[in-house]
């Protein structure tokens, strides 16, 4: 069975601080991995994706993610968070036949 877990439901960071959102997956092979962001009242937007090759992936809005096969993880990072980054972040992976989403992590940014 394929599954993806985001252990943190809610995270609060100060503006300018660094950010790491966790994502773990369970799958028998290397999946296609994605991070999507959902701003309030909006649909999901793709931040970045990993298929193969370099395990450190750069995305839009200054985000990056690192694929670690040994840990079955694909954590999202940003060196310095902006207030406009407040949103909900979904990890997802493409396995057999469909894309599976995690339950999301809500990011709050405080001044």
């Amino acid at each position: 069975a394929q599954s993806v877990t985001q252990p943190d439901i809610h995270i609060t960071v100060s503006e300018g601080a660094s950010l790491e959102l966790r994502c773990n997956y369970s799958y028998g092979a290397t999946p296609y991995l994605f991070w999507y962001v959902q701003s309030p009242g909006q649909g999901l937007q793709l931040l970045l994706k990993y298929f193969s090759g370099d395990t450190l992936v750069q995305g839009i809005k200054g985000f990056e993610a690192e694929f670690k096969r040994s840990q079955s993880s694909f954590n999202l990072r940003k060196p310095s968070v902006h207030w406009s980054d407040a949103a909900e972040y979904f990890c997802a992976f493409g396995g057999y036949q469909k894309v599976t989403f995690g339950t999301g992590t809500k990011l709050q940014v405080i001044p």
Binding site: Y32, L44, K49, Q97, T100, G104
Partner: protein, 114 residues
């Protein structure tokens, strides 16, 4: 700009009263999806169309149906909404069906059932 458009943004219906949600796309993508997203839960795939081919997820209730009359439009029909069907419904598209494809989402329709 090419995009995925969902109407209405908010929909209120009564228990048991049929309701239809609509989605249109200007991306000319082959695949259109409907997801159900409840509060604090992951988006759940209900079904998708590859062109005119309909693909239903095994656990999608019979109460949910879909129509895709042409490439641009796709509809979600809920025949007899129950209280448990109150959720955000997201429409998405992709060029092809591979699970490595980028998904393009609309802003969603928030459905309330009274």
């Amino acid at each position: 700009d090419a995009m995925v458009i969902q109407n209405p943004r908010y929909q209120v219906t009564q228990f048991g009263k049929p309701v239809t949600l609509s989605c249109s796309q200007t991306l000319n993508h082959n695949v259109m999806y409907w997801y159900q997203q409840k509060s604090s839960q992951a988006p759940k795939l209900l079904f998708h169309y590859y062109d005119k081919d309909f693909n239903n997820e095994a656990d999608t209730p019979d109460n949910f149906q879909s129509r895709r009359p042409n490439t641009s439009f796709c509809f979600l029909d809920i025949r007899s909404p129950g209280l448990g069907d109150a959720a955000m419904y997201l429409c998405a598209t992709s060029r092809q069906t591979g699970t490595n494809e980028k998904l393009f989402f609309g802003s969603g329709t928030q459905l309330s059932v009274l």
